[in-house]
């Protein structure tokens, strides 16, 4: 039981460090952390689908865009404040997720991927061409910051940091609780073996629709944060290459875990920033690294760290137990 307490200890330590950061770093690094925070919420929502329910979705950037545009339109032309517009943005994205989910969730693996990619692009192209509502390619500018509450002035990056930090922590916690719950078990069962899950008494259709709608709402919420934070949005930031990069963040970090996508998001947002000064070769290194990561670190950064830890633990265990139980099980299993 001690590693549980150790785990909670590290989490609290990390949170304390995170809450102190704004006082130590300049606002460029804070801006990067804010971007990471927003993307953590988006990748957490995507992880619900890819990591836990095993459905590879390319629509999440479209739902992220719906959330961003709903909140932007409400706050600019309808005069709503951020605090009333972000729940609406999440609901609108969730409802759209439900509507898209109905036809889409019938498909499996690569068909599901391509159909969600199609819907993602349909959302982007509709935003692009619906000029009088969304401003078309010009986008929407002068999106106001959230009105000040609790003495925080959100025009300052450092204060907005806390709003994003709290939202990210809440979302990650929510995902953790959901996965621990009964529905979470059903989602994991669907990922592991969808047909068999049907026979264990899981209404796979209902669970998938629930997961997709929920993750759509979370993506919408991330979108509303993104719009208010950047105060300018345009269809150019919701393209297919964006949905590819958030998918990479989830998978390279280690999908189907809570910490994996967070590591992946941090790694894939910090890496291009760190490589900024090597600007000519930056994208070449980025592409090359992706290929190497997929080939050698298949369960992602987290998998790498875990195997590193397990290797250390394994050595210590071996000399303790003469006939390790684990070895018996492995010896027993003559399957492939």
């Amino acid at each position: 039981m001690n590693n549980n307490r150790m785990k909670i200890g590290t989490i609290i330590a990390v949170l304390v460090v995170l809450s102190v950061l704004p006082f130590l770093l300049d606002s460029y690094l804070i801006h990067i952390l804010n971007q990471i925070g927003i993307w953590v919420i988006l990748t957490a929502s995507l992880n619900l689908m890819v990591g836990y329910t095993g459905q590879l979705s390319f629509a999440h950037v479209g739902l992220f865009a719906v959330g961003a545009y709903t909140s932007a339109i409400l706050t600019t032309s309808a005069g709503f404040s951020f605090w009333t517009s972000f729940p609406i943005a999440a609901i609108v994205a969730g409802v759209l997720g439900f509507i898209i989910g109905l036809p889409v969730l019938r498909f499996k693996t690569h068909f599901f991927a391509i159909v969600t990619l199609g819907f993602g692009e349909i959302i982007r192209l509709t935003i692009y061409n619906w000029r009088d509502l969304t401003g078309g390619p010009n986008g929407i500018y002068n999106i106001p910051f959230p009105t000040n509450i609790l003495g925080l002035d959100f025009a300052l990056r450092e204060h907005f940091y806390y709003l994003i930090l709290i939202s990210a922590v809440l979302v990650v916690l929510f995902v953790k609780l959901l996965i621990g719950s009964r529905t979470g078990k059903a989602m994991i069962a669907i990922r592991e073996n969808e047909n068999f899950a049907l026979f264990v008494g899981i209404n796979t259709w209902k669970v998938k629709i629930f997961a997709f709608t929920l993750s759509a709402a979370l993506a919408g919420f991330a979108g509303s944060l993104y719009a208010s934070y950047n105060s300018y949005i345009s269809p150019y930031s919701f393209t297919v290459s964006e949905s590819v990069s958030i998918l990479l963040m989830v998978i390279i970090g280690g999908m189907g875990t809570i910490i994996g996508p967070i590591l992946g998001t941090t790694f894939l947002i910090f890496l291009p920033e760190l490589l900024r000064s090597v600007s000519e070769w930056r994208m070449v290194i980025y592409g090359g690294l992706l290929v190497l990561t997929i080939m050698f670190m298949r369960d992602g950064i987290l998998g790498l760290i875990k195997s590193f830890v397990r290797k250390k633990k394994h050595h210590s265990e071996k000399n303790l137990l003469s006939t390790g139980k684990e070895e018996a099980a492995i010896a027993g299993s003559e399957r492939n």
């Binding site: 390619p137 010009n138 300018y232 949005i233 920033e273 760190l274 900024r276 000064s277 790498l304």
Partner: protein
């Protein structure tokens, strides 16, 4: 186990390479105060990768030519001190997230006094709120969409010839080319759409009839159906609005469908580039252009540019060159290289004669650069202002 060890090595290697890259960056800024002549860092954000990397690279080459020229003759004087120019450029990859991150890095880590904005309107629009909040002057010499000045940011100035100023020159050129029934074809992006809005009323006013209007998607390459549809309306003139990368396939196919129709392009394409890639399809084409008649300064710049670049200078290089000199002039008039507010005021009050015209701004940051035109005749480009008659 072997694989995991290898994976570990790669992972460590990549982080190490990244950190090395980062440290190289920061150690540079610390060298600021050393040496007899101080260095002034000018922030530049341009898309040098991604789909529209071409324009960004041209502008950057223009910036570098000016930087080399200033530093070769000992830097520039402000008050009693002389300064060398150092360009700190970050690639925005054609994505708003990358552009905003680069802007934050320039303002907060490199602490540059001024930033030259990007070649793409949607990126620049995302950077304006950041520059405004950090009270750092941001100026673009390329992004021409009118949404940039519509944000009303006091620290943003648009030194690129805005579409509004070009409409005048455009309608006059259409008249000069004796076009009656015009087919108007424009790219459906932020830049193209502002023409889509501005041209029709202006053309109607001048009695020019629009027989067909077509818009096409930025990544589109196949235009045959659209051109045949336009051909059915048998226009005697075609007005295009398309960046160079998109204009080439369009012009090649236009040459197939309507070989001898008069064509005018409203300033998105570079004539020299069109000749190089599609010589026979563009003969007789007139494009609006930033650069007017070839002034002595332009010839001097072309010689300077030829020394360090393998291709012939074009008007995006001119704008890049003007950009650095304009900032240096503004700093000299402001009498400071660090006080951002004073520099911004000097920028807004500028009356600087550059290669492509005189830069001056109104209170909204819009400039008064007037469009010129360039005519492609038998493989050569003739630049002129719109008042001169078209060469026969």
């Amino acid at each position: 186990m072997k694989k995991v060890k290898l994976g570990l090595v790669i992972f460590v290697l990549s982080v190490f390479a990244a950190l090395a890259g980062c440290s190289k960056g920061s150690e540079e800024t610390s060298g600021k105060s050393g040496g007899s002549v101080e260095t002034v860092e000018i922030g530049v954000v341009l898309a040098t990768s991604g789909p529209i990397a071409q324009t960004g690279t041209w502008v950057l080459d223009g910036h570098k030519a000016a930087e080399k020229e200033i530093n070769d003759n000992g830097g520039f004087k402000v008050g009693d001190k002389t300064y060398k120019v150092k360009i700190v450029q970050y690639d925005s990859e054609g994505r708003a997230e990358s552009a905003t991150a680069a802007t934050e890095k320039l303002i907060n880590q490199d602490k540059v006094p001024v930033i030259l904005g990007t070649s793409i309107s949607s990126e620049t629009a995302a950077m304006i709120p950041i520059a405004q909040r950090a009270k750092t002057p941001l100026i673009t010499f390329v992004a021409a969409s009118d949404i940039l000045t519509a944000q009303g940011a006091s620290f943003f100035s648009q030194a690129a010839p805005a579409n509004k100023n070009y409409v005048e020159a455009g309608t006059k050129t259409m008249k000069d080319m004796e076009m009656k029934n015009i087919a108007f074809i424009y790219v459906d992006d932020a830049w193209g759409q502002s023409y889509g809005k501005l041209y029709p009323p202006a053309m109607e006013e001048k009695g020019l009839k629009i027989v067909a209007t077509e818009k096409f998607a930025p990544e589109q390459k196949e235009f045959m159906t659209m051109l045949n549809k336009v051909k059915a309306k048998n226009p005697d003139g075609i007005v295009l609005a398309a960046e160079t990368e998109l204009a080439v396939p369009l012009l090649k196919q236009l040459h197939e469908v309507m070989p001898d129709v008069k064509i005018m392009e409203s300033g998105g394409s570079i004539p020299e580039e069109l000749i190089k890639v599609a010589p026979d399809a563009v003969n007789g084409l007139v494009t609006l252009s930033r650069a007017g008649a070839v002034t002595p300064e332009i010839t001097k710049f072309q010689e300077l540019f030829a020394k360090s670049n393998s291709y012939k200078a074009n008007s995006f290089n001119y704008s890049g060159y003007d950009g650095i000199h304009f900032i240096v002039d503004a700093m000299q008039r402001a009498g400071t290289v660090t006080d951002k507010e004073k520099i911004n005021k000097a920028i807004r009050d500028a009356k600087y004669k550059g290669l492509i015209g005189t830069y001056s701004f109104n209170e909204k940051g819009e400039n008064s650069l007037v469009g010129n035109r360039a005519i492609i005749k038998d493989g050569k480009v003739i630049y002129q202002t719109v008042n001169e008659p078209l060469p026969k």
